[in-house]
Symmetry: C2
Subunit: 202 residues, 2 copies
DNA sequence: GTGATGTTTCAGAAATTTCTGAAATTCCGG
DNA sequence: CCGGAATTTCAGAAATTTCTGAAACATCAC
């Protein structure tokens, strides 16, 4: 690996973390390299710098493309494929979350919906059925909120994030003015998504 | 596997998804079983229902405990360990996010901070250094927001989630009334993503 | 067409992770 | 102490994933 200590350290870390992030070491390192690079790199550049086999790099790039995490570019008078990561980090965060949601949440949500079609037979099943329904509702609330947030422009998003919990005060204040109905503490039984509004659906 | 079709389907799905969630199939299935169960189960119950080896179940339970995802219980006149998942799904979501953050984000954040100590030598390194700093700031914003949200009571949290993007309107309104200082971006301080970049081609 | 250049596929090798059975350990009541 | 029930550990087997080199494929300039 022929990289500056800074880059090498970063690249190796991303490799290590790769497995926790659901990608493999190679892919993590390739991504890290592209992320730091100040210009697009082609497959052979990557082979040179990381020392993987050509085919492994090819596979890795393919996987990164499947994740929408890299951009394919072409330079004039050069027909090799060059790759880069978006300059805008927020774009990266958005794709990352989108793709993870797609792979890790959506399949489960549809499975849960499917399972709710089954009528529970035994008392044990009745409990399981209720549990599944509750989980399903919860995930719907979360993904609905996410898709809502995802529609905001980045500036607005940053604004909200920076507010943090202070946002709560705004809600309270507005509540006291407009007097929105405020639910009582007894929330254990009532479904956590009782207040879902129509446009929240995914 | 001796389970009702409903439970079996759910358990198998969680097993499949396990790998995407960074746990293995066994662990996923054990968790799913406990999640659906209307009473705590001991290791042998799990062996009976899922057909894994005793030691595998033991390992799986240990991992689930490391993730804080199961509760250890004891029944009177029985010294076996019984396990269950919290009744409150929000508690589950919170631990899930906490633990994933701990494993997937925190180590990277400290690595990034560490790397920022290094002074960049080459021009290439200068770019890498800037990129790392930017990433670091972004993650700090996100984790800061998260820890803020995490402090809210569940009721409040649900309230905010249900509001979704409508929250933005509140912010705008309050801004226009109270005239909160809306920052102009002139220093590097203003926003971690202030570095607006030229549009990227497809 | 041909040759030069670049990319992808794929079967098997290498590495890693998961799973098991047997042995070791812990815990408890006498 | 002992006996026995419950749990954990651990070395190796089994399964899965990752990685490689060689061959196949694609595209372009001539």
């Amino acid at each position: 690996m022929r990289l500056s200590p800074l880059q090498q350290d970063f690249v190796l870390h991303f490799g290590e973390m790769g497995s926790r992030w659901g990608i493999n070491r190679t892919v993590g390192q390739i991504y890290a390299l592209l992320f730091l690079s100040d210009r697009p790199l082609n497959a052979d550049d990557i082979v040179d710098r990381l020392g993987f086999s050509r085919s492994n790099v090819s596979m890795g790039l393919k996987e990164l493309q499947a994740w929408n995490l890299v951009r394919l570019k072409h330079l004039p008078d050069d027909r090799r494929d060059y790759f880069s990561t978006p300059d805008d980090l927020w774009e990266i965060v958005r794709t990352l979350i989108d793709e993870r949601k797609k792979r890790e949440i959506d399949p489960t949500l549809s499975k849960l919906r499917e399972l709710q079609m089954q009528e529970p037979a035994t008392p044990e099943d009745r409990h399981a059925h209720a549990r599944i329904a509750e989980l399903s509702r919860l995930i719907e609330l979360l993904t609905g909120w996410y898709s809502d947030m995802n529609r905001l422009e980045t500036d607005r998003l940053v604004q909200l994030l920076a507010l943090g919990a202070k946002i709560q005060r705004l809600v309270d204040k507005t509540e006291s003015i407009v007097s929105l109905p405020r639910r009582k503490k007894r929330s254990a039984e009532s479904s956590p998504t009782a207040a879902t509004s129509p446009d929240l659906k995914g």
